[in-house]
């Protein structure tokens, strides 16, 4: 749902990923589509950079779950992560950090870079609003 919105998100731009970036790290994953979106608009005033990993097969999704130590199998799973190690769960001890969101239905993971509390707030709002809109 949330992650699917990235595919149809209307106000964002794509950029050539920097070498050594998160995009570069995951770009060569087998059976996985990787996209980087800069300035994905969460609301009128807040945007966020995101790297999206979309598994193209059940096997690829299981590999991604193992890679990110995801043990849940339903709903939308999320955590705060180190900017360099998205699988590493961290506490909120100052920015920047990543908020990782995994959709089991979509077999996709989004790595959202957070530089402010405002972005964190807007991202959780966006996630919950999209889930509610599925009603």
């Amino acid at each position: 749902m949330l992650l699917l919105m990235l595919a149809v998100g209307c106000r964002h731009r794509t950029e050539a990923p920097a070498e050594g970036s998160l995009y570069g790290r995951y770009a060569s994953l087998p059976e996985t589509s990787v996209a980087q979106v800069s300035g994905f608009q969460l609301c009128d005033t807040v945007s966020v950079d995101v790297v999206l990993l979309q598994a193209d097969s059940d096997e690829a999704w299981q590999r991604m779950k193992d890679m990110f130590a995801i043990v849940d199998s339903t709903g939308v799973t999320s955590w705060l992560a180190d900017t360099e190690e998205p699988a590493t769960r961290v506490k909120w001890e100052g920015q920047p950090l990543l908020r990782v969101i995994a959709s089991h239905d979509k077999q996709a993971i989004g790595l959202y870079r957070l530089d402010s509390e405002e972005q964190y707030d807007a991202l959780v709002d966006y996630q919950l609003n999209r889930m509610t809109n599925d009603k």
Binding site: D66, F68, A69, I70, V71, D72, T74, G75, V76, T77, S78, W79, L80, E85, A87, T88, R89, V90, K91, W92, R99, Y120, D121, V124, D125, Q127, L128, M131, T132, D134, K135
Partner: protein
């Protein structure tokens, strides 16, 4: 495996001490307060017999530690090897917090609070009831490569006055190492104090040690205390494989392999950069990951190969 079963049988009397509080397993939870499940497994020994037990509630844990204190006071020697939360699935502990609400804002606040604590949160929305459901758990991701284990003798220590009303003067269980270093065990598995000495000089308050996991023969993961600098001393000694080959690892880093026919070979051993056991006398040589280390048993692996040692 047979050794472990035998040891467990020997520990039956000790295991019983953890079974006294079964009625406390289900605790009333005030309405609206997230239910906390916190299952911990501890591995320990009395004398030369090992055992482990799983404690599901704080009251079970308290009762266990009380009894250990009593046993220590009566002159028994109790050695703790591993303690902490038993993991249900690789990558996450059983420590869970659940929350359900029909209020989106309440769910948002709950999610953010749990995530800020470093927990992994999973949220679902039920179209029919209009309710949100969330479960949060602490993850052990990135700790699976750490397999340190720690052993020490249990005792009871009266905490010095520190200004902390929760701890001042309390009689708490502690591990005492061979050099009399004292480490206080906390319910969450962390060590509260280290570097202090039993004596008149008071105790230094500091955090030390981290939690790691190791896996036993049955595939169960345990969180264990990671104190790598003291690990080597627990490896020193003679270890026998099930085919009769004995490895003697001395504290001067010399290693001796003794075959069943008495033939011996010598080399050196060391702890690798990643906490592995390195010795050219091991089959194929190289460095082996240590999956289990206690007073009586050590399990190491290298790729598909696994070796179980009994201490001689």
């Amino acid at each position: 495996m047979k050794t472990k079963i035998r040891l467990f049988a020997l520990m039956a009397a000790v295991l019983a001490i953890a079974a006294c509080n079964k009625n406390d397993e289900v605790r009333p939870t005030p309405s609206g307060v997230p239910e906390v499940q916190n299952e911990r497994t501890i591995v320990y020994a009395v004398g030369h017999s090992e055992g482990h037990t799983t404690l599901k509630t704080d009251s079970e844990w308290d009762a266990m530690l009380d009894r250990i204190c009593t046993m220590a006071a009566e002159g028994n020697t109790v050695t703790f090897y591993n303690m902490g939360a038993r993991v249900s699935t690789k990558g996450a502990t059983k420590e869970e917090v659940r929350f359900s609400t029909g209020d989106r804002q309440a769910m948002k606040e709950w999610m953010k609070e749990r995530e800020r604590e470093g927990m992994t949160v999973s949220v679902s929305y039920d179209d029919k009831t209009g309710r949100w459901s969330g479960v949060a758990h602490k993850s052990t991701a990135n700790r699976h490569d750490l397999v340190e284990c720690y052993a020490g003798h249990i005792t009871c220590v009266e905490m010095p006055l520190t200004g902390d009303p929760m701890m001042d003067g309390a009689l708490v269980p502690a591990l005492v190492t061979a050099d009399s270093t004292v480490m206080i065990l906390k319910k969450d598995g962390y060590i509260m104090m280290c570097g202090g000495q039993i004596g008149d000089d008071g105790m230094e308050m500091a955090l030390c040690g981290t939690l790691a996991t190791c896996q036993d023969l049955e595939g169960n993961d345990y969180l264990v205390l990671d104190i790598s600098e003291t690990r080597a001393e627990f490896i020193v000694g003679s270890w026998r494989m099930d085919d009769g080959v004995v490895y003697t690892l001395a504290d001067d880093s010399s290693a001796t392999q003794t075959l069943a026919d008495g033939t011996t070979q010598s080399a050196t051993w060391s702890i690798g950069d990643e906490g592995t056991l390195c010795c050219d006398l091991l089959p194929g040589g190289g460095c082996w990951m240590i999956h289990w280390l206690s007073a009586t048993m050590m399990i190491i692996s290298n790729g598909p190969q696994q070796i179980v040692f009994e201490r001689v």
